[in-house]
Symmetry: D2
Subunit: 336 residues, 4 copies
């Protein structure tokens, strides 16, 4: 029994997903690559051996030869396409964010709950990264004692071309918002946000530093720095009452040359999280095959909370004051 998958959006993310589906997921078939640009769709389809290409996402979702949908189109289309997939009764892996605003996230949640069974996995792939997994395991098995603080650092060489002022909070930080919630198994109650005065806040990629309080009593600190220049670098430390743990990034060589001992950074996120994407997509395929959400995967509720937190972060930065994050009980539907 093969699962026929449509990838919607053939940009960097969509192309990567297409490669994983075609090359690393036994049981999956890359059925359609859909993009507004037929050239772009064709290029990815050819590279990966997709069976067909398309330009209309809604028609693609509706096709009878498509069993499941991977959404990697622009952020503002995520919610509408996810809703279409739910209506069509087809499981979705939706790249983050589920939607750029929390109201649209809630619409997806309502639709999915009404449908009576889970359809949506959100692409917070860090939950599958072996280093976060080990961090969480060390907390869960008691090695670290009770969690107290978590420090997160998210750095890019330079901001993507399409970035505008606050996307450090709305587009980059959601990865940290989600993975810290996941590791700590709690939710946020407030957020404060700071920006170095020396930077132009309206400039794309201006660094932001956030301090979040959790219902579990921890502080979660997040630096997002999309103009870090020196390399793609995601770091993290979880501090417990008995010890702490740092994430290690995969680095394959240490080089001695020119009076330096050095390890290399990649210019973007792909080498750092290649294994996380592969494992995430494998887990999603299991979910499609069985109808059972994979335990660590992010669902629509997690997507909603990440977006809600980002909205509060934007408010906190503009007000220069702690912003409350409205609490809400996770519906039973989303407890798995």
């Amino acid at each position: 029994m093969t699962v026929r998958i449509a990838v919607i959006g053939a940009g960097i993310m969509g192309a990567d997903h297409a490669r994983i589906i075609a090359g690393d997921l036994p049981g999956a078939v890359l059925q359609v690559v859909c993009d507004a640009s037929p050239e772009r769709a064709r290029m990815v389809a050819e590279e990966c051996g997709a069976r067909d290409i398309a330009t209309d996402p809604l028609a693609t979702i509706a096709r009878s030869d498509v069993d499941a949908v991977l959404i990697a189109s622009p952020d503002e289309t995520h919610a509408a396409l996810t809703l279409a997939a739910i209506r069509a009764g087809k499981p979705v892996l939706c790249e983050k964010p589920l939607a750029p605003n929390s109201a649209d996230c809630l619409r997806v949640i309502e639709a999915e709950m009404r449908a009576g069974r889970p359809f949506v996995q959100v692409g917070f792939m860090r939950r599958f990264d072996p280093s976060y997994a080990e961090m969480k395991a060390l907390l869960d098995d008691g090695t670290l004692g009770r969690a107290v603080l978590m420090h997160n650092f998210h750095r890019n060489v330079s901001a993507p071309a399409n970035f505008t002022g606050l996307m450090a909070i709305t587009n980059s930080a959601p990865h940290e918002f989600d993975v810290a919630r996941f590791v700590l198994d709690t939710d946020y109650t407030s957020i404060s946000a700071f920006q170095p005065a020396g930077v132009d806040a309206s400039r794309a990629g201006a660094p932001v530093f956030m301090v979040l309080e959790t219902a579990g009593g921890q502080l979660v600190n997040i630096e997002v720095n999309n103009t870090a220049a020196y390399g793609y670098d995601v770091r993290g430390e979880l501090v417990g009452e008995k010890g702490s743990v740092f994430l290690n990034a995969p680095v394959h060589a240490r080089i001695n040359v020119g009076l330096k001992s050095l390890e290399r950074y990649a210019p973007d996120w792909r080498p750092r999280f290649a294994e996380a994407y592969r494992l995430q997509n494998k887990a999603w395929l299991r979910f499609v095959e069985t109808g059972m959400p994979w335990p660590v995967a992010a669902n629509a509720w997690d997507g909603y909370r990440a977006t809600l937190t980002a909205e509060a972060g934007v408010k906190a930065l503009s007000n220069g004051a702690r912003a409350v994050i409205e609490r809400a009980e996770r519906p039973a539907f989303y407890r798995h």
Copy 2:
């Protein structure tokens, strides 16, 4: 077009290969798991969803519903089963060693050359490990300058139960013999072997230290220490005229606890080389599909040279003197 694979041998290695074939190789099907013990075969077959089990390896190789054969049976059966596969016209991935003695390796080479096309890939998976790949790339792109020395360290917690005196040279070291030849793109001309006087040389796992000279003018040093106690640890450094490079093992977390900052070793090789096995088997599947050997993969000639080097190493240790390793030109058949 799906490739139906028989795995022969359902021990630790065979089971790992079965998992990779079933879980990570689109285009492959785990057709048969064959083991002298039907219980063992069944256990692995059930875990991985194999279509059938068997106990007779020759009959398994001959089955018309088997397209390719992965040999993970005891070392002394490797050559005979590989020869059977060649006769049956079926591609083979043979776990190392190709054979425990060089004469049997030569028999495989003759059969394969007579058959007129390549059938055999040898399971020297380190060639696919990202850290060795990066080491080789840094040599090939000139970063390190001309190679001068290579230091290799191969340590196990304790020797496997079936280990006897010289298997450090004949069973463990071939991994280093092969990967250093591969990285340096040369071959050995001599080997010297030393053993700490304080250890009982007949004892399984007694450490051995070897110094090899290459046709390219380098020294290749190898410590094999199967009683290293502290963890599975493979290290390596390549020293060139302009710089050097160390292999990094994948480690996902750094833990602070109890007055220590620590990273953990696994008790065996699997986490260290999981990615190498996956990539190796993927490359082999391409070879099966296309008939074209994967460029970096080890072939029967490489298997022969590793076994020949081990034989010289045994002689060097017993004589306490440098042993010459007979040179031979790689046949054109094996240049790819």
Copy 3:
């Protein structure tokens, strides 16, 4: 020309200073060890070969056979003893803080300025630590570009016995307040303070997290965690527009044992900062000999700013809001 030094206070800090003076400072003589407890004074004096002991600090400062005074008595006595030394015309190395409140610090400043020449060095020894020195050099030589963020982590195994609720801010953090000001060559304009909700804030050693804004436009983040359990650990990273730098602590060995690769933490600060104390005291001796303050040393103004920042930090934590730190121009007297 030998400098005869009185050490006032023979606790842990005073004893360490006595050892440095006696064992590592050519040109210095340990003339008197003074402590309220004559036994404690005698013990340190005997270990270090001091010429005399005493119990009255003011009388000790006044002795004609004492050329300079090192103050390592309890915090609340620092200002009064420093003032006495200024009156006696004798140079002082005063352990931090210069005084627990900023008003007393200002009194020292007034007295020193009235005296017309510098007498006071404050024991912010981190300025002499080779790792902070290298961090600062990398900023000053342009390697890092303009400074944007500085992350500071100050962790102890457990809080000292005499610690009470807010001493994380008033006693521990001043080291970070001072060294970040020093590295960045700026001063603070505001401080925000957070505490994990799960800890009892009145408990000694409860962790505190602070975010400071600087006149130079940087954010300075400080974790003080005196109940970190796993070891004494001071970390720091300075992030600039072109790169970042981490402090490395001195660690002499990496140990492989018991499935771990580990480095050891000391239970307290002494091994981490031994070299910094030695270099600081050597610089102070030069100051005593020449009358010229050592360029990187902390003076009374620096001591005042650190205490003022701590006072604002206490206010910020109790109000749950950003506290302004009153700016003031560094007097010309303290620019060297």
Copy 4:
């Protein structure tokens, strides 16, 4: 009671020793700097505040205002000057080697034993390096179990101008010969030596690899590579039956810049071993003051064994065969 020291030889080593004596050793006075070149002597004397300069080493040793002698003159003068100091009844710290040939070392030993008390400390400063000290402590306290192998790597950017062919063995390796003997508390029984065929063995700085067997049953491997290009780098690992330990060099910063995470190497040995020299000279001053050799310091016997081992190494390399190192019991005089 002040010790008046003459430094003989004002080259790089002599100047460093003069700085340590003048700046870091309370109780010592830099009385004379003696060098064949009066300009060189004057330069060092002025920098360090020496009381006098001289050009005649024998006359300097004989001066009544000189209590002890530090010999940092060219290697071939070491033995004669050390003998002169013994005759004058003055303690000596002699830079390594004690003499370039073992016969001269034996002459020093005879003279010292005839004199009836110890006078000579040899400048094998690595015994005082904190990383070797920790390595030895981990062996001595049982953490590592019984020692099995020791790997040593000694790399320079480029060979000193005065280097000729075999000085890798006779001049560089003695540091490793001595420190491995010291750490393992044993002596050598044989040495084998190898050289990469691709290098011109007569060329200064050609790399050499040595394997030594010890009376304690260990293998000691040594790479000396004086043309390593990338930096001054001394590494070492001691492998025991229960675990292993690596030396850590002091590095104060880790820098992220230009797609690299890097630590810097110094171009020469001074930063790596600054602390070892300081502690060595401090220990020697105690020896001068008390007449009791410092427990870990190298004495004339150790100097002799290092030179004898180097002589065997030269023979082993030229013969291409294991060379026996003649055993001899350490005289009671040298057991302390």
